[in-house]
Each structure stands twice: as C-alpha cells, then as structure tokens.
C-alpha cells in the first residue's frame, strides 16, 4: 500500500488544455503540500493544506487551483496550460511534528 500516491504519473497535453492531478495519502497526516520541481531540479512550494484548510498559497498563477475534499486527498487543477508549466509536481505530507515530509512519486507534466 503506497503511503502517498499520485495520479497520473505522466501527463502530456497541449497548450491551453485543463488538467488535474490527484494525490491521496493513507498515513493519517494532517498537512498536505504541492511542490513543483523544474528542469533545474529546483523544488518550490505551491500550496499547503491542513485538515482541508488552505494554509499556504505561494505566488502561483491563479490558473492553479488546489482542492482538498477531505484530509486524505489533495488535488491540483490547472487551467489553460502553458509551456512553462512543464515540470514534475510532487504531493507531500507531514504528520508528527518535526518528522519530515513524505513525498508522493510525482507527476511529470509535459505541455506541448
């Protein structure tokens, strides 16, 4: 049973399309995150949710909209995809205080 699972693993789509990435965790953790890793491997936080409530919303285009239907799920919807959105998107969770992140396996998004 995967602790933090993301779907899909790969996503290739055309500019202008709308797509969603889903994340589910079975760890019982309260906090979930979306991070973006670009082609230079730079990992940057996008959003954070704690028990379904938005906690962190970094400077991200409003084409990106996270949704947390319950504590175990955090989805990311992206409208009007652009070439610059191509990256690997990681979901992550934290549970016990000061015990590090558990990352999902990532979704490689390629916009053509």
């Amino acid at each position: 049973d995967t602790a933090v699972s993301q779907t899909p693993k790969y996503l290739v789509t055309q500019m202008g399309n709308d797509k969603s990435i889903k994340c589910e965790q079975n760890l019982g953790h309260d906090t979930m995150y979306w991070y973006k890793q670009d082609s230079k491997k730079f990992l940057k936080i996008m959003f954070s949710y704690n028990n379904k409530e938005l906690i962190i919303n970094e400077t991200v285009p409003n084409r990106f909209s996270p949704k947390s239907p319950d504590k175990a799920h955090l989805n990311l919807h992206i409208n009007s995809l652009e070439l610059g959105d191509s990256a690997v998107y990681f979901c992550a969770t934290t549970g016990r205080e000061n015990y590090g992140y558990t990352f999902g396996s990532g979704t490689r998004l390629t916009v053509v």
């Binding site: 906090t31 491997k41 730079f42 990992l43 940057k44 936080i45 954070s48 906690i55 962190i56 990681f90 934290t94 205080e97 000061n98 015990y99 590090g100 992140y101 558990t102 990352f103 999902g104 396996s105 990532g106």
Partner: protein, 110 residues
C-alpha cells in the same frame, strides 16, 4: 530566499567520506535533509532543530550551526546506494513550510 548548497556536485569512490553544506541568509527554526534518486521522489533523511535536537537515520549525521545559519550533512564510508541529489530544506518559523536548497549531486563509483 533559497538556501545555497555546496558543493554543487561531487564524485567519490565507494568507502570515501563526503560533507555537504547548506547556508541560509535568514535565521532558521530547523533544517531538513532529503535525498532524491533520478526519476524518484525525495526521501527524508534527517531534521535538525534549533536547540540541538536531531531526528533521522542512524547511518547519517549532520550538524546545525544556529549562529551561522548553516548545516552540514556527513556521509561516511559511502556506498553505491548513497548516489543521488541531496537537498536541504529550511524552515524559518516552525510551520514546516520548507524552502529547498540548490541541491548537491553525489555520484559514488565502485
């Protein structure tokens, strides 16, 4: 602001030791360390907290100099499995919002 890691890349033979450094321009609450293998997700290694507390794996050690806002990760007697990119993540306020460093690519050769 993104923490700076050094070196950017290092190549070692099996059995050799490595030190990876992470420097921040801001006062830190904690420093995390992660290892990412090619095509995989980052994996948590260790957290160092203000005040000296550490939590992590037995075979990896690290230090945290609060005055200098620096942390170092020590990998001793390196194994092939240690290869990957190492990231530090800094937490300024104890809210576990991490800013990740520039990364250090470690290659271990037989």
């Amino acid at each position: 602001q993104q923490p700076v890691q050094s070196p950017q890349a290092v190549i070692l033979r099996e059995g050799e030791d490595a030190v990876i450094n992470c420097s921040s321009s801001k006062a830190l609450y904690s420093v995390h360390w992660y290892r990412q293998k090619h095509g995989e997700a980052p994996v948590f290694l260790m957290i160092l907290l203000k005040g000296g507390e550490q939590k992590g794996h037995d075979k990896i050690s690290a230090s945290f100099n609060e005055k200098k806002q620096q942390s170092s990760l020590y990998l001793t007697a390196s194994q092939l499995s240690y290869s990957g990119t190492y990231f530090c993540g800094t937490d300024l306020f104890g809210n576990e919002k991490l800013t990740f460093g520039t990364g250090t690519r470690l290659t271990i050769i037989p």
